[in-house]
Point group: C2
Chain length 395, copies 2
Amino acid sequence: MKMNANYENLQDSYLFARIGQKVREYKAKNPNADVISLGIGDVTLPLAPAVIEAMQRAVAEMAHEKTFRGYGDYQGEIFLREAVQNYYAGKNVQLELDEIFISDGAKSDCGNLLDIFECPCTALIPAPVYPVYVDTNIMAGNRIVYANGSEENHFLPMPDYAVDTNLIYLCSPNNPTGAVYSHAQLEAWVNYALEKDAVILFDGAYEIFVQDELPTSIFQIPRARECAIEICSFSKTAGFTGTRCGYTVIPSALQRGGVSLNKMWLRRQTTKFNGVSYITQRGAEAALSPTGLTQIKENIRYYQQNARLILDAMRARNIPCIGGQNAPYVWLKCPQVASSAETRHTSWAFFDHLLESANIVGTPGEGFGLDGYFRLSAFAKRENVLRAMERFPTA
Amino acid sequence: MKMNANYENLQDSYLFARIGQKVREYKAKNPNADVISLGIGDVTLPLAPAVIEAMQRAVAEMAHEKTFRGYGDYQGEIFLREAVQNYYAGKNVQLELDEIFISDGAKSDCGNLLDIFECPCTALIPAPVYPVYVDTNIMAGNRIVYANGSEENHFLPMPDYAVDTNLIYLCSPNNPTGAVYSHAQLEAWVNYALEKDAVILFDGAYEIFVQDELPTSIFQIPRARECAIEICSFSKTAGFTGTRCGYTVIPSALQRGGVSLNKMWLRRQTTKFNGVSYITQRGAEAALSPTGLTQIKENIRYYQQNARLILDAMRARNIPCIGGQNAPYVWLKCPQVASSAETRHTSWAFFDHLLESANIVGTPGEGFGLDGYFRLSAFAKRENVLRAMERFPTA
């Protein structure tokens, strides 16, 4: 019995597992340290009242034979798919119910979607970006080519027709940079995908944070239905990091080699997945209700204000940075090492420096595929953000 | 972009999705039909009071900042892994906490575990058995060899040393036959796995139904830690078909080619999964508490009594059958076609006959890999089981 040798090409552990371990070790050695996390993108505000109420009601239903729920609809309950359909209608995107697949989160879908493609294949992945795309493609033995973000292109890499690919990952608003593609830029990507017969995996986990006039779904772009899958999450939108719910949209128009990707994903999910908790689905439905949306948007504004504070603090220290306006992340250039005005910290060196000297946890850019930069997240409680910004080292 | 061609080797749809569709169509054409389902193994009794209480408390915690839970422990919360550890101790199996991985269900783990093995490989799968094993191996492009259950071997196939394999699937108590391996038989399988350097994937989803003195975990067998992974579920045990929770046990002693399977699964799950809902985990913890276990065992007894009624009804009709004693399934030989004493129904023909003539839904053996037989499940409400048995056609 041989094990999947592709795993040898991975780092020892998933980025945030490694960071979690380093922080635990630091805290064990320094039990009195007041460590503030602006690291993993974990929300801190509680679930919205409408969500709580819906879940309490759902739990109560599970207590009685007449209202008890067993196995649910493989694609997710109709009530939730209707809520998602409605949410998209509000963004001027019309979806059919059978184009929506409820899941336990975007992270699961991201990795599992690779099942339906012929692997090994080639995946075009931005750098820097959410490490799950690279890691899952390494696990599948896929070849990875990078679309490099840089200060020059404002961390919004564009298609290079000299590069062939089968899959294209786009995350907009981007994790970790907070950069957001314009309508024209996404059209360029759609055209490239159509030309290359590639499929775009569009991660919209942060769409609710967009404040400027920018796309909030790939399906707002003409012809995207012929070449894109959209993956979304309730994690940041509704604070469901510990509750677990997301959805993937696969248009019926999306075909490759005469095969419907929608039908393949249905087959994959009906065979390798058994649906999301009824209780969670009622909570997600409530999050997208008019009352729920009003409540979760208050939380989003709270995080957006945190991001603003972080941005302002970086600028006050002359630390070059982007993001924070349409995303809950600020992406900064690693400051100079104190003793030398020439050399900047590597991102892991800056991670250690920040943790030890200021007791702040961030995420090194190297973990997202681009050293020399660093991500701060805006999900902490306001007082912690304020205290962290006071303590943040000057450049 | 090419799609995974292995999917062309699958049936159009997952067995229970296909059956669900046929039943929906029948009900649409026959809206007054009083259809009773003894088909998909879906529980009908509500969640235990201890579980409900724990989940209500957990939902309430999610409403307040101080007690809100975001991302959880990648392997599952310690409180739940301790409860599982304790449950195993009660079966004389000592586990370490890091050998336990909480998931959203055995079905997910069954399919996803294939990620860590080098595919294509060879999988030895019983016939008949839970269709997920065959389907997921087809999707992975694996070669499948069968361990054939028959009346002769009491549907307990034993190792054939002429057959080489990398993976061995065992489901005991078996779905769909209800047959349970003895200690000696499982030892024989462990010896075979060690000889062949194979890994056993042991599905213990029905262990709680065992009434006779029979093994309830592969780890009750000496040396199983060196060659087996155990996959379990709260679905039938605690009625969590709509709540979603399970766990996989991978002993630290399980290594192949110097690689720890436990570490590989951890890497897989930290990268492609994001944990189980906090609310669900508190419910699962409560299910395994002393009070919870008492309550869920009442439900198990209820289903066991249903199984008894079904067994008795089959015997009263001289329909050869097994199971029902240590599992919530009865496995019967398809009766003769009425007009001819010689020919027996095929299992799909019997499915149609049963649905149309008696308005009862069962599951055809062909869907589990063995035609000529049929499965009835014991999860329906008592009055429905009684009514169905009255209506059940005589042989």
